[in-house]
Symmetry: D2
Subunit: 342 residues, 4 copies
């Protein structure tokens, strides 16, 4: 059975990545693509790498007849997304890739994003889209909120450890290295090749990155008490890939065992042999997460390193994984392609 | 029906690329992987990006029982390949990715490669593996010789024009820009990140690159007279992608029409609208070729630009395309994945 | 004696490069820096890599008192430059880095740039700034027009050959590979790291690049007859460096000899041993030009390859070289720093 | 007065960087360059970017007459260096860039490097070469041991804080991002462009990196008690630049003040305004260090970020800075060039 799919915001990177992934899915058919500023253009004009595909042209959202659509991916900017989704048919299945429905607490939302939420009741309805940890709820959900890409990476590195009680909760440090596509197709000087290649820098320093809202919500719920991590992202001269280096207190072997138990049956999570460091090179273009654990010469200290592709597992791949569950498809359908290396 | 596959030389880039592609093919099963120096290692150790796959460990060639194998990809170094293939069972279907069986004339082989050929009769038997132009012969072939990656790119840019008689034959210039993975997993100073990134240079200048042997053979056969092109490759700070800029005499519109006719039904060749320049960004990781044509302010001069991914369409993707034909599979099976962008 | 210097348009790459170079010049002092949109900001805010220098803040042009200034570098956008320079004091020495005064023929200017020139008499006065070939005129000039970066590279590769009559004039092809900083600090999608890194493409195909105006003017004047080259630029995933591959008819040894004679005493031009290919890696950040020559297997065909750093020798370094001559300084002062490798 | 200089190990990156820097120094003259495997070659052959310079050819060490040499830079591999330096004239001033004389305690040396030291008494004599903190001792030293590049970066980020007592000593975490030139001109697969570009990974995880020996020695001496930091390096797809992100307990404003006091008169250390993140882009090719400080939403936690160019301030620039002091030159001579951006 073929499911009919719309992608709103198809002229950005996560939109294009959805198209790439759906191209390899046997049971999904893209019937509508929106792009406000580029409406009327073909996808071949906006993304020449998709030229070989038979795709609808970009249109405006109001031109889409949602009656014939089974599931809608929403890859719109933050804040725009909630306003659009609020007005979509209430029977439409939706996977949102923006930040708008990630936080369940309206106050937390306002704190991190600065505005009142325009669709409060849907904020309550939305299921958090980290598939491996919300699988059952996602299966029955109508609206799933895709996670932040940093937030996903950090949670893969820490959730099983918090659940298993094998690490301290008050001194967790997440040093994150993030590829530039996470910033989207934004025209900013620091994202130009001339200014980004061949160097790197931290940003959003001082505990100000919005993905902290997700960490707080999720880790605190898991622990049953407030958990605040220290999190600093760094912008890397690379297009895809996030690497989280988590510094934690705990026994490294117990940490490895907790991962081994938690991820044993996960099709997309690979735990490396103890003491092995994963690399973003090894997950590029794929839906896989690689996790490594090592101890330290200082007793009781350990590091956990998690890597994933921010556009795939951190965003559009995760979204398709969730859509598969919502549509009754096999969770891995269209997502088992091997990473691209070199 | 599942075909059993062996890959000789699986520890190099083209070997790993074959594994990546075959992972997406429903009817091929990898049953043996050889790697002389790394025999005994798992593929996860040699290529961690393939960790999620259930693959045989690397072994030595002599450990492989070819009786149960339907087709063997041979991704060995030049010269080694002919010696190995010579001794394989004569009933085994083989796709060779080395240069050893590309040239049909033993003298030409010796001229460009410096040694006498060790398997002369097989050199005669081998079919040249540029699928789009040798499709019928490949279907019935036992041994197919994969083309050089530069040679493939140049031929996509020029064969239909020579066949249609729309360009001059005596002043063809091919300026080639080649990504570094074309040099293989070779430990050379100029291939180090520190020495290659952020710059570029020509190499094999003066008409000395071995792929000239293929151009001479193929273009002369097509034209029915000797054709010698001037060809200069340049090493680019990128991992995948070849861009051929062909400078030719001829009417640009007639050239575009010749391509349009020649490639109309080709699943992997995309002719861009007249005057549009293709980019290697738009074919990365895929089996597609993009071709652009433009005139010049100088009457009677035109440029043709062809791009492809050297590891995929220029090597391992082409090899799988040929294997599909040899095995009675659909030619495009396992090869329709969209390019990875960004 | 210290010369007082103003830089107009100091918030762009060529402006910042001028500051970098002047920092190493013992006899120049920067007394004014303009940047219209960033007026009021310090250079440390606009270019943190210049933080250690004691520099005036950015101001608007009208705030500058030109009475105390000996020489003004004008790194403004095309068309703006002519309007600003028209109104500067007529006694002020000026080195313009824009395209506005490169073409001497008003009709040629209009053809390539699309508008009537706003300072026609100054267009006649301006001396073309390719130092090695206009040295004597530059010494006495008040207004010097810096060359295009591609135009400079192509001329280093061809001028001595046209002058010496050792190449044919009707089949010259210039295949140019250009780093992205040549496009300036422009916010365009194709200049983003995510879209440029790891790939390449031709642009301005079909003989439409504006630097053709310079080639036509200069080569025709040298030859004493019209000379039209075929020129195609390609955008490279690198920040600095231009590589020109010139395909010419002629004897390669005679070509090498012509270069050897022409450049024997040039402090910034290095002719490589015959048959050696230069690399942009070897001139990065410097004012040097490297030139290589090779023959071809086709008799009577040769290639010439020239490389330089577009921001230094192709723009700001050339500008300082010219300023040195105009101010009576040693031509090489502040310009002999070695390239940065790796 | 001109000082005569020899560089041992001139065929590696730090050797070439020394040549680049000395080229801009008015009072140093290179009279001998050694390179064991490349003896007999010219520097233009080994490093074409130095082609314009008039340099001695590479020779073997035993061919050098040290009688006429004032100072010798030793850029040899670890372990080789101690054996060579042991046998050099005892009156020769030496700046060693290897790890051999960094650790004063023979047991610590053996622990981190695995072998007994071959020149124990010189190990005692050597002065640790972090100029800003050992200036007076370096002025009178005969043998100065250049620091590790990571070790230098981490110490710029932490020494003033330990001295001022403004941070806790038991929970310091150093997350380091290191450019590939720090690995030298080594032929290893993971240093190839094809395997390093576009991705990143941690290495030497688990507290095993040798630079920990330097941290332990220096921080413990400063604090007057054992200090052990947790340090994890990450390999970056860039050629130059180290970024240290230090996670510390302490008041962020007090930290900023401590830096402000400590570095007020340092010509090469730039403290950024509070809350500003430095970037490796802004120090490339220069001898500058940029330092930024920020607090966190968690009270009492702060981050310090320090960046420098590993080949310049982290190695060869530091070496020249020390040589200047040892030779009675101005400390900054030849080192004030601005960074290269973009």
């Amino acid at each position: 059975m073929t499911h009919k799919i719309a992608i709103l915001g198809a002229s950005g990177y996560t939109g294009a990545e959805l198209v790439r992934l759906i191209a390899g899915h046997p049971n999904l058919e893209i019937v509508a693509l929106s792009g406000e500023r580029k409406a009327g253009m073909t996808m071949a004009e906006v993304f020449p790498h998709l030229r070989h595909m038979d795709l609808p042209a970009l249109c405006k959202i109001e031109e889409i007849d949602f009656a014939g659509i089974d599931l809608c991916f929403c890859a719109l900017p933050h804040k725009t997304s909630q306003e659009v989704i609020r007005d979509l048919p209430k029977t439409l299945k939706i996977v949102d890739l923006s930040a708008d429905f990630r936080l369940r607490d309206p106050a937390a939302y306002k704190k991190w994003y600065g505005n009142d939420h325009a669709a409060l009741e849907m904020q309550q309805e939305a299921v958090y889209g980290l598939t491996e940890f919300y699988r059952d709820q996602i299966k029955g959900a109508r609206l799933v909120a895709g996670t932040g890409c940093n937030a996903a990476t950090g949670q893969f590195a820490l959730r099983p450890l918090i659940s298993a009680g094998v690490i301290g909760l008050d001194d967790i440090i997440l040093d994150m290295k993030c590829a530039v596509s996470g910033a989207g197709r934004s025209l900013k000087e620091n994202l130009l090749h001339a200014e980004l290649s061949e160097g790197y820098n931290a940003y959003a320093i001082g505990g100000t990155h919005r993905h902290l809202g997700e960490f707080d919500q999720e880790f605190s719920a898991l622990a049953g008490r407030p958990v605040k991590v220290q999190f600093t992202p760094h912008l890397m001269p690379a297009n895809r890939g996030i690497l989280a280096t988590a510094y934690v207190g705990g026994d490294a072997q117990a940490i490895w065992q907790a991962f081994s138990a938690a991820y044993a049956d996960e099709p997309f999570v690979e735990l490396l042999p103890f003491g092995t460091a994963p690399s973003t090179h090894d997950v590029r273009g794929s839906n896989f997460v690689h996790i490594g654990v090592a101890g330290d010469r200082i007793d009781g200290r350990a590091i956990v390193i998690a890597v994933l592709d921010n556009l795939t597992k951190g965003s559009s791949g995760q979204a398709l994984q969730n859509a598969n569950l919502m549509l009754g498809e096999d969770e891995t359908e269209g997502l088992m392609m091997a990473p691209l290396f070199p």
